[in-house]
Symmetry: C2
DNA sequence: CATTGTGAACTCATTCACAGCG
DNA sequence: CGCTGTGAATGAGTTCACAATG
């Protein structure tokens, strides 16, 4: 019985990692897994695994462990990835195109159903995935028509906020932002940032201090 | 005088954000900034900004604020990005190619000086940036010769660990991993992961719970 | 006198340790 | 008996609140 307690943000991140490992184990034919083994695979503490799962229910069998497929299904439901999610990519440079054709995303249920740009050379042309590139001012109609739930921003930094505002305006309230910009969003909206240079900065910092 | 206290990991991430905002402000001609303004720009608490900086020294002027350019220079030094860092990309699919040609990275001093793949169709050919694609078993020599410090992995997940091991073996101990794989690394080595699907999972989770 | 720098208070997250149970 | 589930203990990180000061 799910304790109604506040769930730590890092728990969600870890659930995603558990999910992937369970997927791999399932592939490899494993039927059961202990918190210890799953923890080892995800490089966390076994108690952490049990606590994380404990926020959402009792999924294990004492003395035995967790049923791999069953736990996978449970986490799928928790993360709400037991369904497809339509996405749209704005900014069809090299990075945007790479994401568009990235196998991983549709496999996991993230379908890119629309792409936007402002470059007149691109707008109107067809992507390798068979989508006609739309102008960002066509966003509102596209979002409604195609039931888009997540906006992915791969524009240059200078354009990112503008594009985000278009997305919000079109009724999207979840954004995955690849541009190195802090996006200002309304309270009702979510932004997840993926910023390479921040991660590289962390590496250089640690490389020059005595590691860790 | 830098207090010799343990520095929280999130502090480094935020320093990178401060750095970018200072860069932008510097561009826009601002000379001074208060912790309050910088905090607002980075969407954090002003006390957080002061505490973060406080770990490394006293950079401000009481009653006035911080000198934009000076603070920028200080953070540059802290993050060790006041110099160039040579990188290598392994896995020249669409994502790897996109990163290779990404303007942002060389601008910030991250120079890709070598690229690796295993595909015989790719090895030996020349990238748009003028690099001859090498086979991963040529890594050791390349790393020494070209003084590569950071390895970037953009291979499919199944190859990631193998490529990481090649990197470690070649004497690299910092890796930026774009494949959705938990990489096992020796204690002396650093891995930063950039995993889109985890971030998308966070969005879907939050979208289906009452936001946040 | 506005704003920094920082100990102290607080909030959030992880780990321990063991009771509960199949 | 072994492993889960969880309250209690610990640890990490953030925010408060105010003294220090240019």
């Amino acid at each position: 019985m799910p304790k109604l307690k506040k769930i730590p943000k890092p728990t969600i991140t870890r659930l995603s990692h558990y999910y992937r490992q369970l997927e791999l184990m399932s592939f490899d034919g494993y039927r059961m897994v202990s918190s210890e083994k799953l923890a080892w695979l995800c490089q966390v503490n076994p108690a952490q695994v049990r606590k994380d799962l404990g926020y959402f229910g009792e999924f294990g069998i004492r003395g035995v462990g967790y049923d791999v497929q069953q736990l996978q299904a449970q986490i799928k439901k928790i993360l709400a990835v037991n369904r497809d999610w339509n996405t749209a990519i704005a900014g069809l440079g090299r990075l945007g195109s790479a994401l568009l054709q990235h196998k991983n995303l549709p496999e996991r249920g993230f379908k890119c159903v629309a792409v936007f740009d402002v470059d007149p050379k691109k707008v109107g042309t067809v992507t390798p995935t068979g989508l006609v590139i739309k102008h960002i001012n066509e966003m509102k109609e596209a979002v409604e028509e195609l039931d888009i739930k997540i906006g992915i921003i791969t524009t240059p930094p200078a354009e990112a906020q503008k594009v985000a505002d278009y997305f919000f305006d079109a009724g999207i309230n979840a954004i995955l932002n690849f541009s190195p910009t802090r996006i200002q969003a309304p309270d009702c909206c979510l932004v997840e940032n993926i910023d390479f240079t921040v991660r590289l900065d962390i590496l250089t910092y640690k490389l020059t201090r005595g590691l860790n």
